[in-house]
C-alpha cells in the first residue's frame, strides 16, 4: 500500500498500548512518517508527559501547538504537537456553553475533581470532545490551504485506554440529556467512523504484552466499536548474519587474534541475541495467529536513546512496513 493511501484512510490515528511498550516512541515515529509522506501532522498528548517533546529535542509541550520538526514546504510536512488536558478542555467547554465566568472557579476550587468523580468518564469525554473539535477544524482549514492533514493521538496507557475510549458509550447511557450527552454522542460518532479514526495498538514481542494486546484489541472492537489499524510490534532485535559462528574459528578465518576472555564474551553475546530473537519471533507468530491484523515492525535501537535521528529511523521502518501492507479495502466494504 502507498503510505499516502494509508495516511488518507483515517484522519486520526489513536496510538494505544500498555505502559512501557513504547507508545510515545511509536506516536513520534508515526507522526514523522506521515510528515515524510508530505502531510502536516499534529500529535496530541493527553497525559502531560514530557518524553515526546524531549525525543524531538524540544522543550515540554503546552496547550498551544508547537513545532517539533520542520517541513520543507513541499514533500515533507511539519510535525506539531500540543497537550489536551481535562482542565483545559473543561474551561474551553464551559466557555463554549456560556459559562466562562464560572470556568476558572470550577477548576481552581478543585470542583472539577468532584464533578469528574460524580460522572466517571467526564474527563475523558472532555478530552476526546476537544480532539473531535480539532479534527473538525483541521478538516475545514485544509480547504484554506493550511491546517492539519493527519492527527496522532498518544492515548493514555492501557487498561486506561479502554476506559478512555469507552467513556463516550458509558456517558451516553448514564447521562440521558444535556450537553454532556450531546458531546458523548459526537465522540462516539468519531470513534466508530473508520474514515475519521482508527486505533493502532502497540506491543513488545514478549508474552505478557502480546496477551494483553490481544485482549485489548477484542475489547476495543466489541465495547467501543472502533476500527483497528495495523498492530505495531516495537523493539525487535534486527537480524544479523554470522551469529552462529564460533569466535575462535572465525578469528582464524579472519586472521585476527582474540584477547583473553573475548571469545567467551563474543559467543555468549551472540547466544543471548539468538535466544532473544527466537523468543521474539515466536511471540510475533503467536500474535499473528491470535489477532488477524497486519503488523508493522520496529527495530530495537541499540545505538542511542530516542532522538530526532532515531525517530527518522523508526519512521523509515514504518513507511517500509506500510508499503508492504496489502491495499485497503474501502472503509464502506469492511
Amino acid at each position: 500500500m502507498q503510505p499516502e493511501q494509508f495516511f488518507a484512510a483515517s484522519r486520526i490515528a489513536i496510538v494505544a498500548g500498555k505502559g512501557g511498550v513504547g507508545k510515545t516512541t511509536v506516536s513520534a515515529a508515526l507522526a514523522r512518517a506521515a510528515a515524510l509522506s508530505g502531510l502536516s501532522t499534529l500529535i496530541i498528548e493527553v497525559e502531560g508527559k514530557s518524553g515526546l517533546a524531549a525525543a524531538f529535542g524540544k522543550a515540554p509541550l503546552v496547550y498551544e501547538q508547537m513545532v517539533l520538526s520542520e517541513g520543507d514546504g513541499g514533500a515533507i510536512g511539519e510535525v506539531r504537537a500540543r497537550t489536551v488536558t481535562p482542565d483545559d478542555a473543561l474551561i474551553e467547554y464551559l466557555r463554549g456553553h456560556g459559562l466562562a465566568r464560572l470556568s476558572k472557579r470550577l477548576v481552581n476550587s478543585g470542583a472539577l475533581d468532584v464533578v469528574a468523580t460524580a460522572v466517571p468518564g467526564i474527563k475523558d469525554i472532555l478530552v476526546l470532545g476537544k480532539v473531535k473539535q480539532i479534527e473538525r477544524a483541521s478538516a475545514s482549514d485544509r480547504r484554506l490551504g493550511g491546517g492539519t492533514d493527519f492527527i496522532v493521538l498518544d492515548a493514555p496507557a492501557a487498561g486506561h485506554a479502554i476506559t478512555f475510549l469507552q467513556s463516550a458509550r458509558g456517558l451516553a447511557d448514564a447521562v440521558k440529556v444535556g450537553p454532556i450527552n450531546a458531546q458523548a454522542s459526537d465522540v462516539m460518532g468519531l470513534l466508530t467512523d473508520p474514515t475519521r479514526c482508527q486505533v493502532l495498538l502497540v506491543t513488545l514481542p514478549e508474552e505478557t504484552p502480546v496477551n494483553e494486546l490481544v485482549e485489548t484489541a477484542f475489547n476495543l472492537e466489541d465495547k467501543v466499536g472502533v476500527s483497528l489499524g495495523p498492530v505495531v510490534v516495537n523493539g525487535l532485535y534486527p537480524e544479523r548474519a554470522g551469529l552462529d559462528a564460533d569466535p575462535v574459528a572465525a578469528a582464524e578465518v579472519a586472521g585476527a587474534t582474540l584477547r583473553p576472555g573475548e571469545a567467551d564474551a563474543l559467543s555468549t553475546a551472540a547466544a543471548f541475541r539468538r535466544h532473544r530473537m527466537e523468543l521474539q519471533r515466536a511471540q510475533v507468530a503467536r500474535l499473528a495467529e491470535q489477532l488477524p491484523l497486519p503488523q508493522l515492525r520496529l527495530p530495537y535501537l541499540f545505538n542511542a536513546d530516542l532522538g530526532p535521528a532515531e525517530i527518522d529511523v523508526l519512521a523509515g521502518a514504518l513507511l517500509e512496513g506500510i508499503s508492504a501492507l496489502d491495499d485497503l479495502t474501502p472503509a464502506g466494504n469492511r
Binding site: 464533578v115 468523580t117 467526564i122 454532556i180 569466535p247 578469528a251
Partner: protein, 358 residues
C-alpha cells in the same frame, strides 16, 4: 540493609513504580522469600498477568487471602484486590445499621464512584493493607501498588477521599436538604445550578441522595485514613521501588523517589528489571572498531553484536546512576532479562536468585 534482611524484618513492604516494569512479580518474589525464611507472608496483587495469577492460584476473583502450596517453612498467601467489594465491605462495616448500608450500596452515584473515583483503587489497596496487617495471622504484608502516572496517588488516596467527602461543593449540594438554603449565598447557588446544568440533573439528584445517606460515616473514614497514612510512614514499613532501565521509566522512578523523600519516606531498595547483561569487560568503542576493520567476516559480525550489547548495557548503567545516588544507601538490585516470562514458582525462583544472591 539488603533485600534479604528487608523481607526478614519488615512488617509491610510496598512495591511501587510505573506500569509494565514487573512490580507484581517482584512483590510475589519478596513474599515468597519471606515464606522460605519461615514467616507468614501475604502478597496483595492488583492486576497480575493471567498466567502468573493462574500460577499463584488466583484465577477467579478472590478478595480474601488464599494460601499457596509450596516447599516453604512459613506460609505464603495471595489476594487479588477487588476494589468494589473492598469498598462495599467498608461501607457495611461503618454504616450505623443495615438500612444505611443498603441505601448507600444501592445508590447509583455510589456505584459509579466505588469503581471509578480517581484513586479508589489506590485507596482500596491501602484499606486492604490495613485489614491484613491488623490480622495477627500475617507477619508480613507485601503490596503491589496500582500502576499510576501520578506517582503518589496511593499516598494521597486516603486524604483525597476525605477531602472529597468534605468538599464544599457537596456541602452546598446538601444545603437544600438541610433546610439552610438561605445561608448559601447567591453566587454559590448560581455555581451549583451551573454544575447541575453541565452534568445533568439526574446525576445531581443521585449525588445528593448519596451524601445524605453517607451522613455520619465520614468520621470513620477519616480516622481510618489517618491510621493508614501513619502505617505508610511507620519505620516497619519498607518501600521498594521497581523500575526498568529505559530512560523514561527511570525518569518516572526518579520523580517517584523524590516525592517519597518529600514525605520523609526512604526508598529501602531499588529493583531494576530487564537489564541487558554485560558480556566481558571491553569498551563498546573497542568492539565497534574491531567490527569495522573486520567488516564482512563472521568475526566482524560477532564484534558488531558485542558492541551493540556493550553499548546498551553501558547506557542502562548511565541512566541508572542518578537514581542510584538519590536512593543511596538503599541497595540497587539488577535483574537481567530472563530466559522466558514468569508464570510459575520456578520462574519466581529464578528472579529470587538475583534478588537474594548467595
Amino acid at each position: 540493609m539488603n533485600l534479604t534482611e528487608l523481607v526478614e524484618s519488615s512488617e509491610i513492604i510496598i512495591c511501587c513504580g510505573s506500569g509494565g516494569v514487573g512490580k507484581t512479580t517482584a512483590a510475589a518474589v519478596l513474599a515468597m522469600r519471606a515464606a522460605r525464611a519461615g514467616r507468614r507472608a501475604v502478597v496483595v496483587t492488583i492486576d497480575p498477568a493471567k498466567r502468573l495469577a493462574d500460577a499463584l492460584g488466583l484465577d477467579g476473583i478472590g478478595n480474601s487471602p488464599k494460601a499457596i502450596e509450596g516447599d516453604w517453612s512459613g506460609e505464603l498467601s495471595a489476594v487479588m484486590l477487588d476494589t468494589k467489594s473492598t469498598f462495599d465491605a467498608i461501607v457495611s462495616t461503618y454504616a450505623a445499621d443495615d438500612q444505611q448500608a443498603e441505601r448507600i450500596l444501592s445508590n447509583r452515584f455510589y456505584r459509579n464512584i466505588s469503581g471509578a473515583l480517581s484513586g479508589t483503587q489506590e485507596y482500596m489497596a491501602m484499606e486492604k493493607l490495613y485489614e491484613l496487617q491488623a490480622d495477627q495471622h500475617f507477619d508480613l504484608v507485601v503490596v503491589d501498588t496500582p500502576p499510576t502516572r501520578h506517582a503518589l496517588d496511593f499516598l494521597d488516596a486516603p486524604r483525597r477521599l476525605t477531602t472529597f467527602l468534605d468538599h464544599r461543593l457537596y456541602r452546598m449540594l446538601m444545603a437544600p436538604t438541610r433546610g439552610v438554603m438561605k445561608a448559601v449565598n447567591v453566587a454559590a447557588q448560581t455555581f451549583v445550578r451551573s454544575v447541575a446544568k453541565v452534568v445533568g440533573a439526574d446525576v445531581f439528584d443521585d449525588a445528593i441522595a448519596f451524601f445524605t445517606a453517607f451522613e455520619g460515616m465520614e468520621q470513620g473514614f477519616k480516622q481510618r485514613a489517618a491510621i493508614v497514612l501513619e502505617l505508610l510512614t511507620d519505620p516497619r514499613t519498607a518501600f521498594v521501588l521497581v523500575a526498568s532501565p529505559r530512560r523514561d521509566t527511570l525518569e518516572e522512578a526518579h520523580f517517584f523517589a523524590a516525592k517519597l523523600g518529600e514525605n520523609d519516606i526512604p526508598v529501602e531498595a531499588l529493583i531494576v528489571n530487564r537489564m541487558h547483561p554485560r558480556f566481558g569487560d571491553g569498551r563498546p568503542e573497542a568492539a565497534r572498531e574491531r567490527a569495522r576493520t573486520l567488516s564482512g567476516t563472521d568475526l566482524g559480525s560477532l564484534y558488531a553484536n558485542l558492541a551493540e550489547f556493550t553499548l546498551v548495557a553501558a547506557r542502562e548503567e548511565e541512566h541508572l546512576e542518578g537514581l542510584a545516588e538519590l536512593v543511596a544507601p538503599a541497595p540497587v538490585v539488577r535483574v537481567p532479562f530472563l530466559r522466558s516470562d514468569v508464570h510459575d514458582v520456578a520462574g519466581l525462583d529464578e528472579i529470587a536468585e538475583h534478588l537474594f544472591p548467595g
